[in-house]
């Protein structure tokens, strides 16, 4: 009798799970094309008020007092980079956790959980879909940033930025796993995502430099992967530093990634077992 799986999990088979999940999510996105429009326009709506606000406060697009904190007088490129990287946070926070809830609502979650594959690959597939979406939107934003706001991108910074974004995505994947776990137990991760969204806004240097926060808030911000990603990317793009100057940020981002992923997996497995025991796993 032929039985799948053969008992030896293969890299190729796991890659196919990630790919199938990605294809499925892309087809859903195609089924609702208005989402493309929303997610492309929304990040601009988000940072445009800060441009006007900045102009109102400092009377132009540059500020010497801003420079004391940020190391650059240019406020707009600072905010545009914040908005682009924060886009990854938004899609991660609202992506994977919500997607688990939607699977339960559709009635498909039982079938995902009763399949013999490692569920981590399904979740990776969901995270990859979110990351590719985010990268698409980020690319659009970056092009607009270059054309309208004079953001400069040199070829030398592209690879380091790709590495930093990859590390940011890993950390966010860990947070997504935690939200998926919350979604299994409480059936509603949206409010928590919304709260976390503001935690990132406040404690990460998205709209303002980290140094402008009180000390305790700066310490809190240092526990968020976005903080290191923003510090590193701005150092490369705005302060024209090289990758050696940001090795500390990259190392700490990597450490946070490992911690978030381990905690995420632990929480997800724990919640899966707990909800299978309580009988609430299929509830939504």
């Amino acid at each position: 009798m032929k039985m799948y799986p053969s008992g030896t999990p293969s890299f190729k088979a796991n890659l196919l799970i990630v790919w199938s999940e990605f294809v499925k999510n892309m087809k859903f996105l195609m089924a609702y094309p208005v989402l493309f429009v929303f997610w492309t326009i929304f990040p601009f709506f988000w940072f445009i008020p800060f441009i006007f606000q900045g102009q109102a406060f400092v009377g132009g697009l540059q500020s010497t007092s801003f420079e004391q904190f940020a190391g650059t007088p240019n406020y707009i490129p600072f905010v545009v980079i914040g908005a682009i990287l924060n886009g990854y946070v938004l899609t991660s926070l609202y992506g994977v956790g919500e997607s688990i809830r939607r699977e339960a609502y559709r009635g498909t979650l039982d079938y995902l959980l009763s399949s013999p594959c490692n569920k981590a690959f399904i979740l990776i597939g969901k995270a990859v879909s979110e990351s590719i979406n985010s990268t698409m939107y980020a690319a659009i934003q970056l092009v607009v940033g270059i054309l309208l706001f004079g953001i400069e991108v040199t070829t030398g910074v592209i690879m380091p930025i790709v590495l930093i974004i990859f590390l940011l995505i890993l950390g966010l994947y860990g947070i997504s796993l935690m939200l998926a776990a919350v979604s299994l137990q409480f059936k509603q991760a949206h409010d928590l995502s919304h709260t976390l969204e503001y935690v990132f806004y406040i404690f990460s240097p998205v709209r303002y430099p980290l140094q402008s926060l009180p000390f305790w808030a700066q310490v809190l911000g240092r526990f968020l992967p976005l903080t290191y990603a923003l510090l590193a990317v701005r150092s490369l793009m705005l302060l024209k530093q090289n990758i050696l100057a940001i090795y500390q940020e990259i190392f700490l981002l990597f450490v946070l990634d490992i911690a978030a992923i381990l905690l995420g997996f632990y929480l997800f497995n724990w919640m899966e077992k707990r909800t299978k025991s309580s009988g609430t796993i299929s509830h939504y």
Binding site: M1, K2, M3, Y4, P5, S6, G7, P9, S10, A13, N14, L16, I17, W19, S20, E21, V23, K24, K27, F28, A31, R106, G107, T108, D110, Y111, L112, L113, S114, S115, P116, C117, I122, K273, K276, S277, S278, G279, I281, S282
Partner: protein
């Protein structure tokens, strides 16, 4: 085929499988303002025993029915076997693998249909759905394509394979759900109410396919249903489940033999009294159970009163006199051939179509 209890070729064996659920009572949004004592607090949680030390042995290749009303524990049993729920006590062995310790191999051995047509991606096509779910079974890509085409052909869906499921009928979606269960060619199938909500044509098609899966392909099928005709027509053996307990297991004929023909009288009538069940039971105390199923008399469908067990046949005269006194028009009176419903009523005291916790809640 006689069932051999000592046979070691069981595809499914449950051993004292037990599962309870805690349900919180909703006391109202201002309940926190009330002064509560410890007793009140302890009453906020109900415990429902969904499966109570269930022991079953299902032979390889057998088409085994699990018959019971809504809320009897059928779906909970299927979910425990498919590892979606973790039992509180006991375990089960599927295809030689323990559901507690060897979950990956249990899952690879199973195909299931549970929850019906709702459990598919309606925004995707039938082909997309099947291709996606096949990938979760680590099938090679080439084999996925071949198998998906093969199953779409078997289900007679090839010409509409690339349409979204939202444009399918309920019966067509259910066919896709069954095809999904067969993707990895599992030796064991768990089917939970596979014909629920289908019209007679699709029901017949699905039943024929279930029969073929068991008889031609040798798959072990656990069919959970509350349709007695379905269990009667398809299953080699049937377990009757009520309130989480298996109350009888045997072939359909043997189960029906539990109700002797002399123990079953059916009165077809119009305008029976409201309290017909209690009234006739008080007049015939030696009859075990009296049931009344009201027909839509305005549309010409008569009501049916059944007397089951004891000396029902000897009480015919008493029943006719009693009903006439209550102005009931008797259309016919039969000493009936027992059905599985009668067996269920005799064993549990409840009606299959109305009984069980699910129906009472």
């Amino acid at each position: 085929m006689a069932y051999d209890e000592s046979s070691d070729t069981h595809s499914i064996q449950t051993i004292n499988l037990t599962k309870s659920f805690r349900k919180k009572k909703h006391k109202g949004i201002f309940s926190f303002l009330k002064k509560g004592n410890e007793k009140e607090k302890s009453e906020t949680t109900d415990i429902t025993v969904a499966l109570d030390h269930v022991n079953l042995k299902i032979r390889a290749g057998e088409l085994f029915g699990l018959l019971g009303p809504n809320g009897a524990g059928k779906t909970t049993l299927v979910k425990c076997l498919s590892t979606i729920l973790i039992p509180d006590e006991g375990t089960a062995i599927i295809n030689g693998f323990d559901i507690r310790k060897q979950t990956t191999f249990v899952r690879a051995s199973l195909g299931m249909v549970i929850g019906g047509e709702r459990t598919l991606y309606w925004k995707l096509t039938a082909r997309d759905n099947l291709t996606y779910f096949a990938s979760l079974y680590k099938m090679p890509r080439k084999r996925i394509k071949e198998r998906v085409d093969e199953l779409l052909g078997i289900m007679d869906l090839l010409d509409r394979a690339d349409e979204r499921l939202e444009d399918y009928s309920t019966g067509m979606r259910q066919k896709v759900a069954i095809a999904r269960a067969l993707l990895h060619d599992p030796p064991v199938l768990l089917l939970d109410e596979p014909t629920l909500g289908l019209d007679p044509t699709f029901s017949r098609q699905i039943r024929n396919q279930i029969r073929e899966l068991s008889k031609k392909e040798g798959k072990t099928v656990l069919l959970a249903t509350h349709y007695m005709e379905e269990a009667d027509e398809l299953c080699d053996r049937i377990a009757i489940i009520n309130e989480g307990k298996i109350v009888a297991v045997d072939t359909s004929d043997q189960l029906k033999a539990m109700v002797k023909e002399t123990e079953l009288v059916e009165v077809v009538c119009y305008n029976p009294p409201q309290d017909a069940e209690e009234y006739l039971k008080s007049l015939c105390p030696d009859v075990e159970i009296v049931t009344l199923v009201r027909g839509e008399e305005a549309k010409g469908a008569p009501s049916r009163i059944k007397l089951i067990g004891g000396n029902a046949e000897k009480r015919i005269g008493t029943v006719i006199d009693a009903l006439r006194r209550k102005n009931t028009q008797i259309a016919s009176l039969n000493i009936s051939v027992p059905t599985l419903e009668d067996v269920f009523i005799k064993l549990t005291g409840a009606k299959l179509t109305e009984g069980g916790r699910g129906a009472n809640q």
